[in-house]
C-alpha cells in the first residue's frame, strides 16, 4: 500500500500491528483465565486432605484416659494431633511428654528405660529423657517438650 493509493478507511500498518497485538494479549489472557479456572479447583481438590491434616495437627491439648496408671520407668506412645508423641513416667515419679519425631530425619524415637534416655534407631541419635535435649548422634535440635498435668483418672498433655 503506497501513499498515493492510501485509503483513509483502510487500516494503517501500525494500526494493523496494534490490532494483532491486542488479539494476542486477549488470547493469552483468556487462556490464562481458563488455566486458572481449571487449575484452582484441581489444586484445592488435591490439597483438601492436606488442609484436613493441618486442621488436625492444630490441636492444643490431648487428654489420655487412664494414662495416670502407667508404671514408673515406662513410656506411653500417643498421637498429639497427628504426630507421634510419648509420655514418660520416670522412676522418680516425674512426668515428661515429648514430641517423638527425631529432629534429624523424622524417624519415630524410642524410650530406652535401661539407659534412661531416648534413642533413635535410624542413625543412632540420643536425647535426654527429661529435657528432650539432643545428647548424641546426628540430631541437630532437641525434641519439643509438652506440658503434663496428671489428673485423678487421666493425663492431659498440652502445648507449652
Amino acid at each position: 500500500m503506497s501513499d498515493l493509493t492510501a485509503d483513509p478507511t483502510e487500516p494503517q500498518v501500525d494500526e494493523e500491528m496494534s490490532r494483532r497485538g491486542f488479539v494476542r494479549v486477549a488470547v493469552t489472557g483468556v487462556t490464562l483465565a481458563y488455566v486458572a479456572a481449571i487449575g484452582y479447583p484441581i489444586y484445592r481438590y488435591l490439597n483438601s486432605s492436606v488442609e484436613k491434616s493441618a486442621a488436625m495437627a492444630a490441636v492444643k491439648d490431648v487428654t489420655l484416659d487412664k494414662a495416670n496408671d502407667i508404671p514408673k520407668g515406662t513410656a506411653l506412645m500417643f498421637k498429639f494431633g497427628i504426630r507421634p508423641a510419648m509420655l514418660i513416667h520416670h522412676e522418680d515419679d516425674s512426668w515428661v511428654a515429648l514430641d517423638a519425631v527425631c529432629t534429624h530425619m523424622g524417624c519415630t524415637v524410642k524410650f530406652d528405660a535401661a539407659k534412661g534416655n531416648i534413642h533413635c534407631a535410624c542413625h543412632g541419635g540420643t536425647y535426654d529423657a527429661k529435657t528432650g535435649q539432643n545428647i548424641g548422634g546426628p540430631p541437630p535440635r532437641p525434641l519439643t517438650v509438652y506440658k503434663v498435668a496428671v489428673n485423678p483418672t487421666s493425663v492431659t498433655v498440652s502445648r507449652v
Binding site: 481458563y34 479447583p41 481438590y45 483438601s48 486432605s49
Partner: protein, 355 residues
C-alpha cells in the same frame, strides 16, 4: 526458538511428518459440520481420563466405596465438581460418539478403504458403554446397585455359560463389595488398556485415509470440491469445538451437580421409577415391551437375541454396502439406518414416558 524447533525436528526425525501434516486437507461442504463429532468424543475422553485420575486420588473401592464417594462429594474441596464433570463428560462423550457413528453411517464413510475405521469405532463404542456400565456402580448408592443387578441379568440370559459369566463379573451370587472392587479394576485398568491402543489405531486410520466424502460430494468432479488445510484452519475450528464442549460440560456440571443417592441396601426395595441411564434406555424399554407381548423367560431371550442380531448386522454393514457403484444396496442401507435411528429414539422416548 526456531533453533530449538530445528533441533527437535531433526532429533525426532519428524521432518516428513511435518511436510505431510502441512499438505493434509479437510473437505469443505454442506455436511462438514459432522466432521467435528469424533474430535468432540476424543476431547471428552481426555476429560474423562483427567477427572478419572483425580477421582482415584480419594476413591476407595470395596466396602468403603459409598463412604469415599460421599466424602468426595460433600467434604473434599471441589470434589463435587470433579465428580460432576466426570459424569457429565461421560454423558456428552456418549452423545457425541453416537452422533459421530450415525454421521459416519449416513455419509457411507465405512466403505472401502475405511472398513477398519468402522470396526475399530464399533469396538470403541462397546468399550465406551462398558465404561459407563462399570463406572455407574462405583459410588454404590441405591441406583447404581440396582442398575448393576439388572444389567448383569443380561449376560445371565446367555445360554449355558451365562450364569457363570454373570457370577464372575459380580464376584459372587449377589452384587456386593467384591463387585465394586472388580468393577473398579475393570473401569480404571482393564478398559483403558483395551481402549487406548484401539483408539490409537482408530486415529491413525483417519490420518491415513483422510476424511470421507459423503456420496453427494463424491459425485462431483474433483475440480468442484473445496478443501481447507488441516493445519491451522481445521485444527483451529476443532479446538474451538473443544472449547465449546468444555464450557458445556462446565455449565452442566456446576448447574446440575451429579446426585448421590442413599447407600445401597440389599434389604431396601428398588425405588419407584428406577431406570437406566439414557444410553441403555432403548434396550430397557424394548425389553419391557417384548415382555408384555411375550411374558417370561422366552420374551427376554427373544429380546436379547434381537439386540445381538441387530448389533451384528450393524457391525457388518461395510461388507454389505461396500461399493458406491451399487446404488440399490446403498439406498437399502440408508433406509436401515433411518429405521434404526427411529427405533432407538422412539423406544427411548417411550421408555421415559412409561416411567
Amino acid at each position: 526458538m526456531s533453533k530449538v524447533q530445528d533441533y527437535l525436528i531433526e532429533r525426532l526425525g519428524i521432518a516428513d511428518t511435518i511436510v505431510y501434516a502441512k499438505k493434509k486437507t479437510v473437505p469443505i461442504h454442506k455436511q462438514s459440520f459432522w466432521y467435528y463429532w469424533g474430535g468432540i468424543s476424543l476431547f471428552c475422553f481426555i476429560v474423562q481420563a483427567v477427572t478419572g485420575i483425580l477421582l482415584m486420588v480419594y476413591y476407595r473401592p470395596g466396602p468403603e466405596a459409598y463412604e469415599s464417594v460421599r466424602q468426595i462429594t460433600f467434604e473434599t474441596q471441589f470434589g463435587w465438581l470433579i465428580r460432576s464433570v466426570h459424569n457429565w463428560s461421560a454423558t456428552i462423550f456418549l452423545v457425541s460418539v453416537f452422533i459421530h457413528m450415525f454421521s459416519v453411517f449416513f455419509m457411507k464413510a465405512y466403505r472401502k478403504p475405511r472398513e477398519l475405521g468402522w470396526w475399530s469405532g464399533m469396538l470403541l463404542l462397546l468399550l465406551g458403554l462398558t465404561f459407563g456400565f462399570s463406572g455407574y456402580l462405583l459410588p454404590m448408592d441405591d441406583l447404581s446397585y440396582f442398575a448393576t443387578k439388572v444389567g448383569l441379568e443380561v449376560p445371565n440370559t446367555i445360554p449355558l455359560i451365562g450364569p457363570a459369566i454373570a457370577n464372575l463379573l459380580r464376584g459372587g451370587l449377589e452384587v456386593s463389595e467384591f463387585t465394586v472392587q472388580r468393577f473398579f479394576a475393570l473401569h480404571a485398568v482393564i478398559l483403558p488398556i483395551l481402549y487406548l491402543p484401539l483408539l490409537a489405531i482408530h486415529l491413525w486410520l483417519i490420518q491415513k485415509h483422510g476424511n470421507a466424502l459423503p456420496p453427494t460430494e463424491e459425485a462431483k468432479p474433483e475440480s468442484e470440491r473445496r478443501n481447507m488445510p488441516f493445519f491451522p484452519n481445521f485444527l483451529a475450528k476443532d479446538l474451538a469445538m473443544w472449547l465449546i464442549t468444555l464450557n458445556v460440560i462446565a455449565v452442566m456440571a456446576s448447574l446440575f451437580p451429579w446426585n448421590l443417592g442413599p447407600p445401597a441396601d440389599t434389604l431396601a426395595p428398588a425405588p419407584e421409577g428406577i431406570h437406566p441411564e439414557w444410553y441403555f434406555m432403548s434396550q430397557f424399554a424394548t425389553l419391557k415391551l417384548v415382555g408384555r407381548i411375550l411374558p417370561g423367560m422366552w420374551g427376554e431371550a427373544f429380546g436379547m437375541t434381537l439386540f445381538t442380531l441387530g448389533l451384528v448386522l450393524w457391525f457388518l454393514i461395510p461388507i454389505f454396502d461396500n461399493d458406491k457403484a451399487n446404488g440399490v444396496r446403498s439406498r437399502q442401507v440408508t433406509y436401515f439406518g433411518i429405521f434404526v435411528v427411529a427405533v432407538l429414539i422412539l423406544t427411548t422416548i417411550w421408555g421415559y414416558i412409561g416411567l
